[in-house]
Symmetry: D2
């Protein structure tokens, strides 16, 4: 009699089922998804396990579009270009850009969502008003040397992407306690004379939290979107620039297509 030897390293995954001539993401045949759902909806599916309704699918696309690129200023673009300028492959150069998405770049999405949770939980626990809780929490943060993530921007005083995201989220009916809390934080800042409006990272953090995303994959949304921008930057570096140039992080300007409106 022979015994079946079990492999102790055998493991399972819940993401995608691969069978001969069949690929199914979270249960859905990929050929059926293709052409029927947008990439934003497919991203929601693969990260959450369920397909979103059409409006949320469109919101997901808008979130991805909002983060597709921010020119040559962010460290991810500069790191990718620096690596590309040495003769690295497209994939290695893009990877160096992805590796730059951390606490200080893109990380405000997750951090803001976590801090808003703190505020919302405190409201539930204490029964105090939202603005009162925010004042207390901001004072506590200041005392311990922390700062609220997702508010204010180095370049934009009024981030054009934030208003648009909230507008689309409103249309999709997904604005919940996180967006409410984020707007309240902005208001409390303003009433104390600080102009620190919600930036695009803060807005995405609040929206993803209202949609029910896990904190751990929130910055992943930014990585997915920005990979597209990084591919464009690496390709531009390789085609328009000389190898090993000194990449000035400040002294660059835009010489592309002039401003135009949608057709």
């Amino acid at each position: 009699m022979s015994e079946t030897k079990t492999n102790p390293n055998s493991w399972t995954t819940e993401i995608t089922d691969i069978q001969p001539n069949r690929v199914a993401v979270r249960g859905y045949d990929i050929a059926r998804l293709m052409g029927n759902v947008s990439f934003g909806a497919a991203v929601y599916l693969i990260l959450r396990g369920e397909l979103p309704d059409e409006k949320i699918g469109r919101l997901m696309d808008a979130i991805l579009v909002s983060s597709i690129d921010h020119g040559a200023t962010p460290p991810s673009a500069l790191a990718a270009r620096t690596v590309a300028s040495t003769g690295a492959s497209l994939s290695a150069s893009v990877a160096a850009g992805i590796m730059s998405i951390n606490e200080s770049h893109g990380g405000a999405i997750e951090n803001c969502a976590r801090q808003l949770t703190l505020i919302i939980t405190r409201v539930h626990e204490t029964g105090s008003g939202l603005d009162d809780v925010i004042e207390t929490v901001l004072a506590e943060m200041k005392a311990s040397g922390q700062r609220m993530s997702g508010f204010g921007h180095r370049i934009h005083t009024d981030d054009p992407r934030t208003a648009r995201l909230f507008e689309l989220a409103d249309e999709a009916g997904v604005c919940g306690p996180y967006v409410e809390a984020a707007l309240a934080v902005e208001r409390v800042f303003a009433s104390s004379g600080k102009r620190l409006p919600i930036n695009v990272d803060g807005a995405i953090g609040a929206l993803l939290a209202d949609l029910g995303f896990d904190y751990e994959v929130m910055n992943g949304m930014f990585m997915i979107a920005r990979t597209a921008g990084l591919v464009a930057h690496v390709n531009e570096e390789k085609t328009r620039q000389k190898p090993m140039r000194k990449i000035d992080p400040v002294d660059h300007s835009y010489d592309g297509h002039p401003a135009r409106d949608l057709p």
Copy 2:
């Protein structure tokens, strides 16, 4: 009198214009793009410089959806999980996956497009028929130890994504000489008794070439799509598995949602 000292490292970019309270990708205000174009269309825009029409935008989404994940079998998923299992950050783990997209994984997109160009050019130059040229080219490749990229698959004998992509491309009216040549290669293989159907990489390579993409960014499409799958794999590794486990590249199975159809 003062002289203006010019910075020799000053440089320009054509991708995105960043001004206070304004972000414009290839000339289009990003807030206008958000909600009005899909992410697939925005990817086309950032890589090509122009917005696609709606049908091509939808095809772009379908291409991205087709490549979003392929389970735990590809080296990109295994590399990302291996790095994640050591306690690496989400961004470093995903980056390791991106770094695995090269010549032998994802690279068939670009390679297939280049090889089809060779065939198409030869037809134009010699005036010979497409199938004759392909027979000659395949014989030359065999003699020099090369092989045609984008045909056949380790797992799928009839890749479900290929037929769907060509169907959608047909609807969008973009099938041109590259798709024609790819189908002819498949036919020539078949007539010599070889079952080597176009795989998803070959199909994407042919379509991107017919759409006019530069070879250099073609594999970038795969990176953009797959980043989503990699985020899902890294998150699953961190939440469902123990650190430093031995990740078996073969002995894994799917235990996620059972097969289901679109709503």
Copy 3:
């Protein structure tokens, strides 16, 4: 009148001075260092700012040699090989290996040093005996779900590198309170029936702490040493294996030069 415009991004570094025809590391002409100090001594210099004496220089070399490779078992070797098998460059493949050196792989060096500091500080603060403090600290760790880093090994019950490192450290006269504390932890484990001897990471952590290294660069010693092993693994993968193979993390064996002694 002209004003001098200061660049707000101007910055300084204390590591290496580059002048035409002169490179000086921490003040020492690199051409003078070459041939006069070992690489281990140069690593000490660049990380600490001062040259070590000759015995400590030799100990640094021994630490680097001890970590140069650990075969095909560690995730860094597997990640580097997985990326290499896709056709990645040597540098991208080695980088994927480096990215795997974190909390759960190599990280015990820093963690062990930090935990030993806790023990040593507690002895100073309370005036209690070393073994008593260790018993208390281990009990606290157990209660809070933590575990002592740098003790025990998946493969070695008696790590051959540990004894040798302590022997060489003893010759160099650098064993101080950290090595003493590490040996005491091992003893306390043993007296409670647990066979958890100091492993090579724990030994290096204790030694680097006794030498006065900052915690933040400790795992860097492991990265420097292991880069050599990773170059060897990537080169072997590329020369002895086929692209895209399934890299089994367990079922591999050694077929190199048989055991031999130093000449």
Copy 4:
């Protein structure tokens, strides 16, 4: 009767043998290597399979010391610092630096060795004199838009590391046809009025070729050495600089220990 099922993915490695309580690199017990050979000698062993004699071991250390760092000017240091400034881990930041070692940075080592091989082979095949062959080869290169790697430097007109390396190589008795050819190339350049002396990369390429290293691992020597410098740069960035600063690639200076001589 039971059959033994063979794992088709079983594989072997020639680098390091791992047994319980025994680690042997290329056949040598690692505990025996520790304290008895320098890290440079161990690097030679792991890359070549044999231990070098003592003089060559010392030369290996000198090669590693020569490449340990080149200040803040190279793209590897800038990429590592850019990634570090976003809050990335030490290992991810160092990895970004390693990924920058390619064709245009560090790659001259391998390229120079390959080009010198071409020259040496041509001498053997044609029976012509070395200088004549070099003149022809340089003319051919110029005609095809290539340039000789390993000669000239952006900063150094007379690289202090080159002379020292050749001096030590001479002492070790390893200068062979590659060093001879490199010196001849320098001479031919000079006789045509071009001041393009051998730089440190060219010198290392010639020496590694004379030592018999495979081309494929040559740039690996640079990666091993530079990992030490990258650890120092990343640590300095994290301890002396603010997150997300604009890292100027030109406007930086040295403020470390003043010039000093060996004790």
